[in-house]
């Protein structure tokens, strides 16, 4: 059985004859726009004049008006970002740009204080993810990886197998570089794999990243060095009735819900510290622990969470209707209702 216990309840009974994927052209167009503006640049297409023109045109557009009911653009944006645990700076920068007045503490948590007086409460979400860094660069230009984070989060032995034969982004000093993880050619296995032969899963030690380079020097010329963060290429998929599939969708959309609640400008009771925390997957939730030490104590703490279908896969799925509910729930909590 698939993990039915974690299957979310969504509005699926009202199937529409046209099919949501086709009806929701507005949201899909928004997706194109969101990806274009993602804080983490997408694959390097050697941006040309046409793209520049489009970017300029999009920049001139009125900003999407957010309300408590419109978590969708933030959900799309957040699920397209990468924040390998301990290396969340790029996403943190994006959050700081999203929330003028926010600060980043010494650990990297992004915090924003709303209201004043007591009670003093904390509303938080972890923004990091299990990911990879470049562990070695081979003379022929291939990259080797090590996983960062994990432990209990990667209980599935198939977690790393999702890399095999798929696109990744390598976040070098000159921006994101597209790459692929090598996979055997099916044609060349013919006659070489006996029926009933062992079928071991793919592990991170099997991952050779190909960025198209032919030498280590060429790789370094792209701004890629050891310790550069690496993740699966993020391509959120909308399907069904407002279902959004992406790696780490549940965490990211929970953070999007928290962001949407803040942007709805709630009438906060007392003081609410909003925190997007880092390193939740390391050292017993190091980011949150340090936040409490630095800014606490708090009278109450609320952590934004959402249920997800297909957890820990590249198609971890969240119903955006659940995210709507979470936005309302957070808003009410902030307002003390």
């Amino acid at each position: 059985m698939i993990r039915r216990k974690r299957v979310l309840r969504s509005r699926l009974s009202s199937s529409h004859p046209e099919g949501w994927a086709r009806r929701c052209t507005t949201l899909k167009r928004l997706l194109a726009r969101v990806l274009l503006h993602s804080a983490v640049s997408g694959p390097r297409f050697s941006v040309g004049t046409t793209t520049g023109v489009v970017t300029l045109l999009l920049s001139a557009l009125p900003p999407v008006r957010l309300s408590a009911q419109s978590v969708d653009p933030l959900a799309l944006r957040f699920t397209s970002m990468t924040a390998v645990t301990g290396l969340e700076q790029s996403m943190a920068d994006s959050l700081r740009a999203l929330f003028p007045g926010s600060t980043r503490d010494r650990v990297g948590n992004v915090t924003l204080t709303l209201g004043q007086g007591s009670p003093k409460r904390l509303c938080t979400c972890p923004l990091d993810e299990v990911g990879y860094v470049v562990g070695n660069i081979l003379p022929d230009g291939f990259l080797l990886l090590r996983r960062v984070g994990g432990g209990g989060r990667t209980a599935s032995p198939l977690f790393d197998q999702q890399l095999e034969g798929h696109r990744v982004s390598v976040f070098g000093t000159k921006g994101a570089v597209p790459g692929v993880v090598a996979v055997k050619s099916v044609h060349l296995t013919r006659g070489r794999v006996a029926t009933g032969a062992p079928d071991p899963v793919f592990t991170v030690d099997n991952a050779y990243v190909d960025v198209g380079a032919g030498s280590a020097a060429e790789v370094q010329g792209l701004g890629i060095t050891a310790l550069a963060p690496v993740s699966l290429a993020k391509r959120p998929q909308l399907y069904g009735e407002r279902l959004l599939a992406a790696p780490n969708a549940a965490r990211r959309i929970a953070c999007a819900a928290l962001a949407a609640a803040v942007q709805a400008k709630p009438k906060v009771r007392g003081t609410v510290v909003v925190a997007f925390t880092v390193q939740s997957l390391y050292a017993s939730n190091a980011g949150l622990a340090s936040l409490k030490a630095l800014l606490g104590p708090f009278d109450d703490i609320k952590t934004a969470t959402l249920p997800g279908r297909y957890p820990d896969t590249a198609v971890e799925t969240v119903a955006l209707a659940d995210a709507d509910r979470l936005v309302r729930e957070i808003t009410q909590w902030m307002e003390g209702r």
Binding site: G19, S46, V177, L188, F202, N206, Y208, G214, Q237
Partner: protein, 369 residues
């Protein structure tokens, strides 16, 4: 239709429309005109879907990219033909339009789709990935469902697709029905240098190379009739090519199958054979699993390439080719390819210089042999 979102004003719509119309694969500053042209044609074909037996969109894309003078016809199987020049001996170039994927075979009570593969590939590469169901009324998004959590072998059980429905009726209300083809979304992405990645380079590169050769072909130089065919259903048994071969019978002298040279240029492959580095030029596919090119013909190919200054490698690899179904009619199969990494995966890698070499070689052969 139930309106759900109202974010977009006219400006957003216009911008999104513009985005849709623009190519997403801008050119590198260092690209030559030839590389740029190859990329433009190839990217368009790669981003068009056409699982075996549903090649219509790719066929139409090829027709749009043909030079204005070319007159095409489609046979009963769905193969696209362009004839150039007159006289004997007739020679044929053939590249295939189709790509690997799945076909819906049934819809479960829970609304999930049952699938059968079309072509040979590792199904694990599709597991837990975004899916697209191609229906008569457009594409329906979904996901290839991950396996049950307890199964920990590399190969998953038969895959299913979740389109967000919770019943068979719900799935059918989205226009999904048995027979529809299924793929994962794909994108042409430029890597560093002259390399690129995407899915279905096999055999969109061959299809693109034939187009590029036709665009530059000196028709006045032809000494005989040359037929260019873009075939269907290669991945499920060379079916389209078989129809074309039967139609032509013993008329052609030679057939040039333009298809992938699956390369061992990868740290995961054994170097026993198939050693043709990407970026090293087109490849004479001298021996594969379906045909052996007579050595004298390989030598002729090498001489033509050398005379024209076209980069050509010679090698042996695995896989079959469309030309092999012509050989029972006494037609010599000269298989030509280009080196490809990670065949039949979502991240096939090609070097655009090889695409240009292949196009130049096709043109040279058509004009001089």
């Amino acid at each position: 239709m139930r309106p759900v979102w109202r974010y977009s004003g006219r400006a957003v719509g216009a911008a999104a429309g513009l985005l849709t119309a623009l190519p997403f694969y801008c050119l590198s500053a260092q690209d030559s005109v030839r590389i740029s042209e190859a990329q433009t044609v190839l990217a368009h074909l790669v981003e068009t879907y056409g699982v075996s037996s549903a090649e219509g969109p790719v066929r139409e894309a090829v027709k749009r990219l043909l030079p204005a003078w070319a007159k095409s016809e489609t046979d009963t199987a769905g193969n696209l033909w362009v004839r150039v020049g007159e006289g004997s001996p007739v020679v044929v170039f053939i590249a295939h339009l189709d790509e690997i994927g799945f076909r819906v075979t049934g819809i479960g009570d829970d609304g999930t789709l049952e699938l059968e593969p079309r072509g040979g590939f590792f199904s694990s590469l599709f597991e837990a990935q975004p899916a697209l169901v191609h229906t008569d009324r457009g594409d329906v998004a979904g996901v290839f469902m991950p396996r049950d959590s307890g199964l920990t072998r590399h190969t998953p059980p038969p895959l299913r697709v979740d389109v967000g429905a919770r019943s068979r009726a719900g799935a059918m209300a989205r226009d999904v029905s048995p027979g529809a083809t299924v793929t994962m979304s794909k994108q042409y992405v430029r890597l560093t240098g002259t390399r690129a990645t995407g899915r279905s380079f096999d055999d969109r590169v061959g299809s693109a190379a034939q187009l590029l050769a036709l665009r530059r072909l000196d028709r006045a130089a032809l000494k005989h009739q040359v037929i260019f065919i873009w075939s269907v259903r290669e991945e499920i048994g060379l079916e389209g090519a078989a129809v074309a071969a039967a139609a032509l019978g013993t008329t052609p002298r030679r057939v040039y199958a333009i298809d992938t040279f699956v390369s061992a240029d990868s740290p995961l492959e054994l170097p026993n054979f198939a050693v043709a580095p990407i970026g090293g030029g087109a490849v004479a596919r001298a021996i594969d699993n379906s045909s052996v090119t007579p050595p004298a013909y390989v030598d002729s190919l090498v001489q033509i390439a050398r005379a024209r200054g076209v980069a050509l490698q010679v090698g042996t690899t695995n896989g079959g080719n469309d030309g092999s179904v012509f050989t029972p009619y006494g037609v010599v199969d000269v298989a030509i390819g280009w080196p490809l990494r990670y065949s039949h995966s979502p991240v096939e890698v090609v070097d655009l210089r090889d695409v240009v070499s292949l196009a130049d070689l096709i043109r040279a052969v058509a004009e001089t042999w």
